[in-house]
């Protein structure tokens, strides 16, 4: 049998996926770019309108704020979870890891609706608090930024935990032992010896959560109830409600550029290749 050239077999394996990506993803995205510059008339009109619109500005500010707070929340909670899983020998470790990954098996839609059941005016949380006599009137736990943040942090948490977990499980316990034998207290050993070694994982997790949060749609739309307009929902409005394809496309371009900028800037601090490609 004739041997197939290695290069040929490589391309044969890659080509189907590449074709699909080009035809159904890259070309349509370019189409969006085109619309942004041509509808309703050729020029930078959409971008001028965008820059002048206060609503757009507000939406971008909300988007970045929600993404930033979600990132910080996920990092704090995720760090504790990852630290506990990787630093305490326990037979439960495999179960704990499974519990971190488990949410991936449940649709984001279902997880977000579950939060509505929990956080609504007569949701479980409010009902329980009222019955316990701790509050008299229901708290506003959703259809505001608080609700969006609670659900976003929940949805994004695994993306923060997994890179940190991978990183921490690679850190041997002897560093902290060494630090303590050299005279450092538990806290000092953690702060000066352990924590610096976990920074790559923390930065990876932060980047993943932040970038994913920037363009997130389902959770903010459901929990925000139209009151927390993040940029992806704003785009949907422009296109679905106002049939304003030009402005919608221009906003998409802006979001894409903003995300790319975040990646570019973080590339100076994080090893992107390791973060996005070689995560195990």
């Amino acid at each position: 049998m004739p041997r197939i050239n290695e290069k040929v077999s490589y391309w044969m394996l890659v080509l189907p996926a590449l074709t699909i990506m080009v035809c159904f993803y890259i070309l349509p995205v370019l189409g969006i770019w085109e619309i942004a510059f041509t509808e309703p008339e050729t020029g930078l009109g959409n971008f001028v309108k965008m820059a002048e619109s206060n609503a757009v500005k507000t939406s971008f500010v909300i988007t970045f704020r929600v993404a930033a707070i979600t990132t910080v929340g996920c990092l704090i909670l995720g760090y504790i979870v990852a630290y506990a899983i990787s630093n305490f020998a326990s037979r439960l470790t495999p179960l704990m890891v499974a519990l971190v990954i488990l949410p991936f098996w449940v649709s984001v839609l279902i997880r977000s609706f579950s939060w509505i059941v929990l956080l609504g005016r007569s949701g479980l949380v409010n009902d329980a608090l009222i019955h316990a006599g701790m509050i008299e009137r229901p708290l506003r736990l959703m259809h505001n930024e608080l609700g969006v943040l609670i659900a976003m942090i929940h949805v994004m948490l695994p993306f923060a935990v997994l890179p940190m977990l991978t990183n921490m499980r690679g850190i041997s316990g002897i560093y902290v032992q060494a630090a303590r034998s050299l005279g450092a207290s538990e806290w000092t050993s953690f702060r000066q010896v352990y924590f610096p070694q976990t920074l790559p994982g923390v930065l990876s997790g932060a980047l993943l959560v932040f970038v994913l949060s920037l363009g997130f749609f389902v959770t903010p739309a459901l929990l925000g109830g139209g009151r927390v307009l993040m940029i992806s929902e704003y785009i949907t409005y422009q296109i679905q409600e106002f049939l304003n394809w030009g402005l919608g496309s221009a906003l998409s371009v802006a979001l894409l550029v903003a995300t790319a900028l975040v990646l570019l800037i973080s590339a100076r601090f994080v090893n992107l290749r390791a973060t996005l490609l070689e995560r195990k």
Partner: protein, 356 residues
């Protein structure tokens, strides 16, 4: 002996139903090079971890110069420790690593710099102060780890198989350096290893552990020449074992008999007529001769050439095997598999073992 620097009384550590330490009593003398030697699972690392304070004892006490330190956390024990995996902090430079214990102790910057330089000079690594640990070889990293563990003048230096990750040549070099350093500094070393050669070549005193209990302790030559039981005789160097019966004589010379072969035995151990005894015989104390020249006729089974020595495995009639180690310069006999020979030994060569 003066007051021991470290005194361990009846140390017990249990993991489930297993006693990792089973009532260890040990006094460490000031300035001594003490080695804890044993196979894996013998409790030597557990004992070192207990001394360092990483694990607590279930029973027993630890005292440093008569002060109880049983419950003290590791950071207050003031013991330097060198790990098998070096454990240099990867996010710090060599200088920061070595200065770490001094910084923790809030010493002034000028003093830290001076003492780091001295410590690095001591291990001949002065030129590497600004490197990161990942840029150094294993041997260099272990030198830095040593400098770091010594930079704050610890009471005792604990070494946990520090050389086992290095290749053979480097290991030998570092053995000399460690010994040198120990003599120069006069600090007490407690050294854990499973490598008997390492233990024999460096230690003032060796503690042999098995199943969490001390089997025997003593200087390298005492342990090698006078192993107390079969485990020690087998673990520290190689031994041949002979089961024999005392047939007569009174100390120090006894007449013995093993599988129909009578021989004389010189020993300080009290023996009685008719007593069954176990003897250990070092391979280098066995002589190889032409058939009939020595006591026991045998056949060569295998020959292993080791450079300065060669080891010959011979089989006695009845299937009992003996390992003979002889210098390769001896050319009276060239042992080859199948050759008929005879083996013999001096009357003072066998060691009487305690019944196990």
């Amino acid at each position: 002996m003066n007051t021991p620097i470290l005194s361990i009384k009846n140390a017990v550590k249990r993991y489930g139903t297993v006693n990792a330490l089973d009532g260890v009593n040990l006094d460490v003398a000031e300035g001594e090079f003490l080695t804890l030697l044993g196979p894996s699972g013998s409790g030597k690392t557990t004992l070192l971890s207990a001394i360092a304070g990483f694990i607590g004892l279930d029973e027993g006490t630890l005292a440093l110069r008569s002060n109880d330190i049983t419950g003290k956390p590791p950071e207050h024990r003031d013991f330097g420790m060198v790990f098998q995996g070096y454990a240099l902090f990867p996010t710090m430079t060599v200088r920061e690593n070595v200065g770490f214990p001094l910084k923790i102790r809030k010493r002034p910057a000028a003093e830290i710099k001076k003492r780091v330089d001295e410590a690095l000079e001591m291990v001949q690594m002065g030129a590497f102060a600004d490197r990161m640990p990942s840029q150094l070889s294993g041997g260099q990293q272990q030198r830095i780890a040593l400098a770091r563990a010594m930079s704050f003048d610890p009471q005792i230096l604990l070494l946990d198989e520090p050389l086992s990750a290095l290749d053979k040549k480097l290991r030998a070099d570092l053995q000399w350096e460690l010994k040198d350093l120990h003599q120069k500094l006069g600090v007490t070393f407690i050294y854990v290893t499973h490598d008997q050669d390492e233990a024999l070549s460096m230690s003032d005193r060796i503690i042999i552990l098995k199943d969490g209990a001390i089997q025997q302790e003593g200087g390298p030559n005492t342990l090698y020449d006078r192993p107390r039981n079969r485990f020690v005789a087998d673990f520290l160097g190689k031994s041949n074992f002979i089961e024999a019966t005392v047939t007569g004589g009174s100390g120090p010379t006894f007449h013995c008999e093993s599988q129909g072969t009578p021989f004389d035995l010189i020993t300080d151990e009290p023996c009685e007529q008719g007593q069954a005894i176990s003897l250990a015989l070092r391979p280098e104390r066995l002589r190889l001769g032409l058939p009939g020249a020595e006591l026991v006729p045998a056949t060569v089974k295998q020959v292993s050439y080791l450079g300065e020595r060669c080891q010959v495995l011979v089989v006695r009639e009845g299937g009992e095997e003996f390992l003979v180690s002889r210098p390769t310069w001896k050319t009276d006999i060239t042992p080859t598999p199948g050759l008929q020979v005879s083996i013999g030994w001096d009357a003072d060569a066998p060691v009487v073992l305690a019944p196990s």
